[in-house]
Point group: D2
Chain length 287, copies 4
């Protein structure tokens, strides 16, 4: 969707009467035209309130910083809000991390090149050298981080050097190394992973084999934010496909690739459009 | 969800800045606690704006009629709104019309008896006598409207006698007679039909045979509001199921029954919760 | 589909060349007209072979026992087959076990009354007295097995008294008591349970609350054969529905009921049509 | 699945007893190891019978031509079969035709390059020059067929020159020109098109706009064999995705691209694996 100049406000606070009115008034009075408004409350009595508003900015009567400072003073303080505003003109800077399998990586790059993902893809990092040509064909730098089996720390240090301050979001597009808690803590709610099962079923290694062994009739994929605990971060998006006894583990992998590509692409898009609020290891997703 | 005392406001008007603020302010200033807000605009510049707000009413500072009159004066006139408010304490009165097949009828009655459909089922009308026992077991009056093949008018007159002023919504639960435009015009946007195909594919008679003949790989069902034009009213809900060459027409009918039941029940629930706004023969459905 | 007189042959054996030819020849030479044939091999070299053939029996040149004895001698011994034949004229006798929630029970009884489930429903057993009227309206005996909290053994003994020798298949239609291994062992591959999650995610108690806590974006249901290990038996059928942060635990339960009903009904039908072969805690399902 | 050397036999004939036995015997007696067998009959009494058998060929005791000639004499004549055998070692030669939108084209080429589509992609033809670089990067010749608006005949003549005798299957990957009946007749049951709607809903031009105008709640895509009648050929595969009032026509197109890619890729794969039999403008698809 093209909005020549718009902004997105996301809010989390304790629910009580008057929030929508206060926020809408504030935006209206400063010349913002609200084009989309979503809200959700866990409970109108004593629950937690979440809201996302998207508004056009051409007629704002304040600068960004003045607007944000006024919002803090006039609205946010009163309701003790956690909030932030993002601007469509500030494109998010993205890095993609990948291992041997390229299907999720290529899906993202293809969608990005078509204009479906509104971001700057700054670089691709991999512990495999093989995707260089495909990535560079998109005009994107490719960094092969060779990794001694016993030196995870050095690899992560090299990655941090490339990433820190340079990117806003990291996408693990079938990146098969476990990131340390230390590394993850540098990018809170900013690392998106695709896990090739319907979590919490089949966490960990080789989920398609686990699925075959258990004899499930559906296989799935899960996109989630990465936290220190493996495969346990807030779930953004999931989907499944029907299978039967006939599929070998290899065929489950092939079918699974199609789900992984779709689920990861949808999750990345939701993130880039600032449609997600994380709360207590779960996501509120305003579609 | 049970809200002991709540109301729903639905609005349609030309989009322009300030609507959300004006409505939210009005409700807040009169003691309404907004628990749900959905809005949609076909285009922020010159489009049509739709909104649904659900709010709790215990702390309202005005009577219903005073509130509505104030809303008209303070907000609706200013934005030239089409609007209405419904109250959770005013249960909708429902009639179900059915022919020979009872699966949709029983699905609705079972859900209603379980508390899933918040309405009063006032009566069941049928051109078949066979469902009397099943319906009366739910404590609901059953009216068998015998119908001479050449006297549609007399049957409709009899039905109008029973229905008019007595019910707010009519559900055609596989009612296989075509209602006249005259009859339909008495219940605008208040008659819900389930058609046993994925409309606009296979309108008219025997859609499962049409589906078999065309060799489609999915069959579907469509719930829609009834208008004067057969099978062409605003679509509320649709769903499909996968089939193959193996299913006979009879098996398509059996599989189709499951989709029909689900789709009709979902559509009726959406209507009862005032989640639908009809505009230019299409529906805006706020879920 | 009604076939006035047909039989189903199911076979499991080591795969090697010539099985299909041998079985098909045998049936053809004795006047059986094959109407359906499905086969599957885990691996043509050294794998396990599974086959289901459905055939019409009016022109058989042998009695049942002579046919079966000839099959053993001519075909089964040669390939060391596990096999059995069931006959459409021998309707399976079914019992349904249920606790407080009746949605799965009623779904089965309604489908059975409509002719969708080809079996004799012999009785309904429950640890709750409340469903008697609904069940007896279908002409089916209802046995309320009162249960002291500390006397599971007595309850199971009473149930066995009613069931053993009287039924061929037990359906746990949201029966919320855990059956002992001893009880289960009396009905091998003949007890079908519906679990209200997408197994192996969320086994055990209150899976919808578990699902809410984990923040999954799909909820599901799983029909499986009951084994001594809780929620770990061979999976017959699964399905899911999309949910979001908006659904409370109670709403997940309501949405889940629709999936449970569909999944259990499909699984029971597959069982009644002898479409399932169990092998190494997994199912081969020939649809 | 890789089978180093296998063949597929497809049969259509009038149903009568003994077909499975005769075919299986024949194959077994000549050293063929059957690895997959599917059959379907429209009606065991007087219906039409369809069968697909896949078998390993290393231990065949005859050459191809001797085997086929023996099959005709021993089995096919007796049952008056339409039949053919294809061999895994004879890769199908494929051409892709494309217009301005490249998503289906790239999906096919990417899957092909990964080994998911077992064929030789011989060339890509387009009435647009823009995809040359992307296609040639896969090592595939790209032919731009410039087309004067009034000279469809010349363009088709040029295409026939390139295609005839050179390819076995043509895939229209969002090729937006209508092929003449004359052209289509040169490739019977060998041209696969992706139509961007759930046929028979919304045939012809701009189906996403048609879908928006009708207000459907699901959009779909249909892969079908091309016949002389536009959008009316035998359907191979279909799928849908849920939409709402919120999606603009442009967003329906974007969501639709994902369905189109999946549905076309599945259809092409089914064709390449010889899993489809066409009969009376419908497909029997043995999965």
């Amino acid at each position: 969707m093209h909005e020549s100049s718009s902004a997105r406000l996301r809010i989390t606070c304790a629910d009580r009467p008057g929030i929508v009115a206060a926020v809408s008034n504030f935006l209206y009075s400063h010349g913002a035209n609200i084009t989309s408004l979503d809200q959700y409350s866990t409970d109108p009595e004593g629950g937690v309130f979440f809201m996302r508003q998207e508004f056009q900015t051409p007629h704002l009567d304040l600068t960004r910083s003045a607007l944000e400072s006024a919002f803090q003073g006039v609205v946010a303080d009163r309701f003790e809000m956690d909030w932030n505003i993002t601007y469509s003109t500030d494109k998010k800077r993205m890095a993609v991390l990948v291992s041997g399998q390229e299907h999720c990586l290529l899906e993202l790059l293809w969608r990005w090149s078509r204009g479906e993902l509104d971001c700057d893809v700054r670089m691709v990092l991999s512990n495999h050298p093989v995707h260089r040509e495909a990535v560079e064909a998109f005009g994107i730098p490719y960094h092969y981080i060779a990794e001694a089996a016993d030196d995870r720390a050095a690899a992560e240090a090299r990655m941090l050097e490339l990433l820190e301050g340079q990117v806003d979001v990291l996408v693990l597009a079938r990146y098969m190394r476990i990131l340390t808690g230390e590394f993850v803590s540098r990018f809170p709610e900013s690392i998106i992973n695709i896990h090739h099962s319907f979590l919490p079923a089949f966490p960990g290694a080789d989920p398609y084999r686990q699925a075959k062994d258990r004899g499930v009739k559906l296989i799935g994929a899960t996109a989630h934010y990465v936290t220190a605990e493996l495969d346990a971060g807030p779930i953004i998006e999931q989907d499944v496909a029907r299978v039967s006894h006939r599929q070998s583990v290899e065929e489950l992998r092939r079918l699974g690739r199609d789900i992984e590509r779709q689920v990861l692409a949808r999750a990345v898009r939701l993130h880039l459009e600032d449609r997600i609020i994380v709360h207590q290891n779960k996501t509120i997703v305003f579609r």
